[in-house]
């Protein structure tokens, strides 16, 4: 009983302090605009979810504050068209479960009367939560789920700011032909597609194969393998026998490490290995492989090198780092969630209304320049499915242990090194 009291008292004090700093006392308190955000705050995805919450809170505070940053809606002291009303985000925990995501979406809409929803990271939870929003006619802004199936459900309320997996795969092929043209290298014909055989790898491989066929490449090998193998000898022998010019690879960390070691052992040296992030952008990848990680190409969604495009990137990163308990930098996930809050605030402000149908209209009319965001995108503009059509990924190459952006060329920090040198000539 005593403990409950003590905890209660502490909570009250904390609330008083937080409340006190967030809502300065004024003559006429401007109204609040309440939106809901569903994130995996506990469970297996909790580390990511907590980071996303911090990113959304940072965006909210920049929108509600007066400090100007070269970002759309930042430093305007709330939403100017709505009497400088403050944006308020109510966070709800999806626990990473589609059922729970559905339940909390319902609660946010019916009990908290939110005017819009944000979330939810995992594609599976976004699928269910956005279904509830569609039923109630509440706009749903999805910053960070990449399954290509999400925007093709004929929803009127669903808006996705991030590019999806098919776009990312398309980017990898664009990068390849761009780089070969620019460096006047002979065109590539033979491809091998290597992937772990669950949803992620299979989806990526399907997208890659479709593009390869359309662009008349020769897919010499399509190789699914079981994740978390204790050895990859037969896999690598098959790849070696196929003799492809370029390997497209989708692997989680464990397999990515073992593949690289086995490639080296068996002297497998294609012109390039092009990866779909995952294991290849994990901080452990370079840490474990050292210089053997060099020359790998991988897609990514964000890079701190983007300051060339928007000067705000380093400053925003510092703000985020200061709030992050682990002192983490902004990454592809947090940067996308940060950005989506601005997109939603901009739409509500242009709608000059908190009516969901007006906000949906405003979202549909969104037209934000890439340079007004911290993302590498050309901009944000939704098609009739609510998918952002101006989004793109980045291609990075590990050079001397550092992820250097090599594509698109206008944000590149280094030129791509193509082909990768054979293992015995490094």
């Amino acid at each position: 009983m005593n403990r409950t009291l003590a905890v209660g008292a502490m909570l009250a004090i904390v609330l008083a302090l937080v409340g006190g700093s967030a809502a300065p006392i004024r003559g006429a308190e401007p109204a609040e605009i309440v939106v809901g955000s569903i994130l995996p705050l506990t469970g297996g995805l909790a580390t990511t979810g907590q980071g996303l919450k911090l990113a959304q809170e940072l965006a909210r505070d920049l929108i509600n504050g007066r400090q100007p940053y070269p970002l759309l809606m930042a430093g305007k002291d709330g939403l100017p068209n709505l009497g400088h009303a403050k944006l308020k985000i109510i966070f709800a925990d999806s626990q990473g479960s589609p059922d729970q995501a559905k339940t909390v979406a319902e609660q946010l809409i019916t009990q908290d009367h939110v005017v819009a929803l944000l979330g939810t990271y995992a594609s599976a939870t976004t699928a269910t939560a956005s279904q509830v929003a569609e039923r109630y006619g509440i706009p749903f802004v999805n910053p960070d789920s990449s399954s290509p199936t999400l925007h093709t459900r004929g929803f009127k309320t669903f808006f996705r700011t991030t590019p999806h997996d098919a776009t990312f795969s398309e980017n990898l092929f664009e990068f390849m032909s761009d780089v070969l043209k620019k460096q006047k290298k002979p065109p590539v014909h033979k491809l091998a597609i290597v992937y772990e055989n669950t949803l992620f790898g299979t989806g990526a491989a399907d997208a890659e194969e479709a593009i390869a066929k359309r662009d008349s490449y020769d897919v010499a090998l399509r190789l699914p393998y079981g994740a978390n193998s204790s050895e990859l000898q037969s896999e690598v022998q098959k790849i070696k026998a196929a003799g492809a010019d370029v390997i497209f690879q989708s692997s989680y960390l464990n397999d990515a490490l073992l593949f690289m070691k086995t490639y080296k052992q068996q002297s497998v040296s294609p012109q390039a290995i092009i990866a779909q992030d995952a294991g290849f952008i994990d901080p452990n990848f370079v840490k474990n492989l050292g210089k053997d990680a060099d020359y790998i190409f991988t897609r990514d969604v964000f890079s701190l090198n983007l300051k060339a495009k928007n000067k705000a990137v380093p400053a925003i990163n510092e703000l985020f780092k200061a709030r992050s308990p682990g002192g983490n930098n902004l990454d592809g996930n947090t940067a996308r969630d940060f950005t989506a809050v601005f997109v939603l605030a901009d739409a509500i402000d242009r709608a000059r209304s908190t009516k969901p149908e007006e906000i949906i209209k405003a979202l549909a009319a969104t037209n934000i320049k890439g340079s007004d965001t911290i993302m590498p995108w050309r901009g944000i503009k939704f098609d009739e499915h609510g998918q952002n059509t101006l989004g793109n990924g980045l291609v990075e190459q590990i050079q001397n242990g550092v992820y250097e952006t090599v594509w698109p060329f206008d944000v590149a920090t280094k030129a791509a090194i193509w082909p990768m040198p054979p293992w015995d000539k490094r």
Binding site: Q233, S234, L257, N284
Partner: protein
């Protein structure tokens, strides 16, 4: 005649199998002497890998670290036997199953807590070259790990076959009661077997660090194979474990290449099922 990739596959399969052998020998030794299936066997492998990694951080090559790691594993095994396994043996047989499984969960959790789930590889690992023998490419690290495992397995075999304590171990596994009547100290021999089994997996961990990263769940990936190897070769038989492991390595690599890598474990388990159906005691096991 061009054999294509066949020689390469055979060599890779054998080298892979040799490492499986060293892990399995420890398991089979423990089972043979005290009838205990140690579910935490893979976790001892994981701990040995972390220890090797730690020694590498202070500049010790995994090959030179091997004796220390094996010794430390021996001591750890003997301690675990004294503190835990000995007590479990007093209960019904299922106590040991749950007890060692609990140890698995505990050790994985502890590793996750203390070492985090990050992957750790030996920095600037030695033996990174590749030898080319005709068409066959051999990673130096893979070769050394394989040969090291073969030597260690041979040493264990020699110990069990030709030394006095080894004879006592065999006596225990043949007839517990008779061995006790002959004056063999069961508790000491059990501790020796458990320590020796753990030392094997410790040595395997040191060798594995040449080619594989350490992380809290790493043991599970190898332990499952070791269980198949032990059942295939015959519970309690060192030679059986060696034979079984090489068979598993070969079938896995060849099956993966000629059927499909995604299905590479199917021929392994098919072989296992056939052997257990026709020879339930395993290839070299006694009834």
């Amino acid at each position: 005649m061009d054999l294509g990739p066949l020689p390469q596959l055979v060599v890779s399969g054998i080298l892979t199998g040799l490492l499986f052998a060293l892990i399995s020998v420890g398991l089979t030794l423990i089972f043979g002497v005290m009838d205990v299936v140690n579910f935490a066997h893979g976790e001892f492998l994981m701990l040995a890998m972390y220890l090797t990694f730690g020694l590498a951080l202070v500049g010790l090559n995994p090959i030179f670290a091997l004796p220390f790691v094996a010794l430390a594993a021996f001591v750890l095994g003997a301690i675990v036997y004294r503190l835990l396994i000995r007590r479990l043996l007093d209960g019904p047989p299922s106590t040991v199953v749950f007890g060692t499984f609990g140890l698995l969960v505990f050790l994985q959790g502890a590793a996750q807590y203390f070492f985090t789930s990050d992957y750790r590889s030996v920095p600037n690992p030695p033996f990174q070259g590749t030898l080319h023998l005709g068409n066959v490419a051999l990673g130096e690290a893979q070769l050394i790990a394989g040969l090291g495992a073969l030597v260690m397995t041979a040493l264990v075999f020699a110990f069990v076959e030709f030394t006095e304590p080894g004879r006592a171990l065999r006596a225990l596994s043949e007839d517990r009661v008779a061995a006790q009547l002959m004056g063999i100290d069961v508790q000491r021999m059990n501790a020796l077997a458990f320590g020796l089994g753990t030392a094997c997996v410790g040595a395997a961990g040191a060798l594995l660090m040449l080619t594989y990263p350490a992380f809290p769940r790493v043991g599970t990936e190898f332990a499952l194979t070791a269980f198949v190897v032990v059942a295939l070769g015959g519970f309690g038989s060192v030679q059986g474990a060696l034979l079984g492991a090489i068979l598993v390595g070969l079938v896995e690599v060849l099956g993966g290449f000629y059927i499909s890598p995604a299905l590479k474990l199917i021929p392994v388990y098919a072989l296992y099922l056939v052997v257990v159906l026709l020879r339930p005691q395993g290839l070299l096991g006694r009834r």
